[in-house]
């Protein structure tokens, strides 16, 4: 497999939420969320009631993937920031730690300059959290090897799967 599975533990999940919360306040943004490059939503903060965050996550990842493709076509490694300007709302998209996407939705109460500035700081913070996760996963793998531990999914049975489709 190209990249390892993404695993998220409670402690880092809370840290990510705190970082996003801070970014939302500092940047005066409506919504801040984090998606992995495959379109899975990791965390979201802000006015989410009217927002379909699952679709947003998938389309953001599609957008970033298409833009990455464009970048490679003209010989760039990536376009690390994307910005879409609307009449009222704007979307600022940036890549963090090469594998996750940070999305900030803001309106006239903020500005592109402010968002860019705050995103830069938050990016460093989030990168650190993902480094911690990576080393934790690595450590855990070693312990697992040592203890011959089985994943919580080792015991999945045919019946478990049948039940999922019983409706």
């Amino acid at each position: 497999m190209t990249s390892p599975d993404l695993v998220l533990y409670d402690e880092e999940f809370q840290k990510i939420r705190e970082a996003l919360q801070r970014l939302r306040q500092d940047a005066n943004a409506n919504v801040v969320f984090l998606v992995d490059k495959n379109g899975q939503q990791i965390a979201a903060i802000g006015d989410l009631q009217t927002l379909d965050t699952t679709s947003l996550a998938s389309l953001t990842a599609g957008n970033v993937a298409a833009t990455d493709g464009l970048a490679r076509l003209i010989g760039e490694k990536e376009f690390s920031i994307l910005f879409h300007e609307g009449e009222k709302d704007n979307i600022h998209i940036s890549i963090v730690a090469q594998r996750v996407i940070l999305v900030v939705i803001f309106d006239e109460r903020s500005s592109l300059g402010l968002v860019r500035l705050r995103v830069r700081r938050a990016t460093a913070e989030i990168e650190k959290i993902f480094e911690d996760i990576a080393s934790k996963v690595e450590k855990e793998k070693q312990t697992i090897r040592a203890a011959d531990y089985e994943s919580p999914f080792a015991e999945i049975t045919d019946e478990d799967i049948d039940r999922l489709f019983s409706e």
């Binding site: 497999m1 190209t2 990249s3 390892p4 599975d5 993404l6 695993v7 998220l8 533990y9 409670d10 880092e12 999940f13 809370q14 992995d36 490059k37 495959n38 379109g39 899975q40 990791i42 379909d52 699952t54 679709s55 998938s58 389309l59 599609g62 993937a65 298409a66 990455d68 493709g69 994943s151 919580p152 999914f153 080792a154 015991e155 999945i156 045919d158 478990d160 799967i161 039940r163 999922l164 489709f165 409706e167």
Partner: protein
Amino acid sequence: MTFINYAAREINCKIVYYGPGLCGKTTNLQYIYDRTNPSAKGKLISLATETDRTLFFDFLPLDLGTVKGFKTRFHLYTVPGQVFYDASRKLILKGVDGVVFVADSQEARMEANAESIRNLDKNLKEQGYEISTIPYVLQFNKRDLPTAVPTDAMYRQLNIKGEPTFEATATTGMGVFDTLKAVARLVLMDLKKK
């Protein structure tokens, strides 16, 4: 790439429907969408042209219930089938956990099916996957058409590794959920090995 969120106790898996143009990938998703309880599904997103040809992808999120205390979420994607959209197909295969190959049963489309499987094999390799190891299910769609090739002949041409194979008519729903269930099973069973 399965995303396991221990904090929210969720597993997220990505399943991609692959196949030649007009074979019925979007129709599979549309049927699943129509027949799924509203509480278990999100919006069906189609990035399509004005003539309803898939331009980039279709996307349908499904919540299937819990396994071992984890909520299982399947994200279903289709690729654009037309040959010249290859760059987009590669992007959609990123992070895939399981593939459904939808083959068109019509005689005239046999070469297109074979070409599309070769394309899938090549694009999977580019992303670092092997068709021989990835959870993979084959569907013979459009069985209702009079020009449908007998299934054993199709199997001989298209089978790669003895994968689970289903006859389907996606427009009426025949075989659609059997296919989905089979690929979900393979993906979840694959988690065991990790």
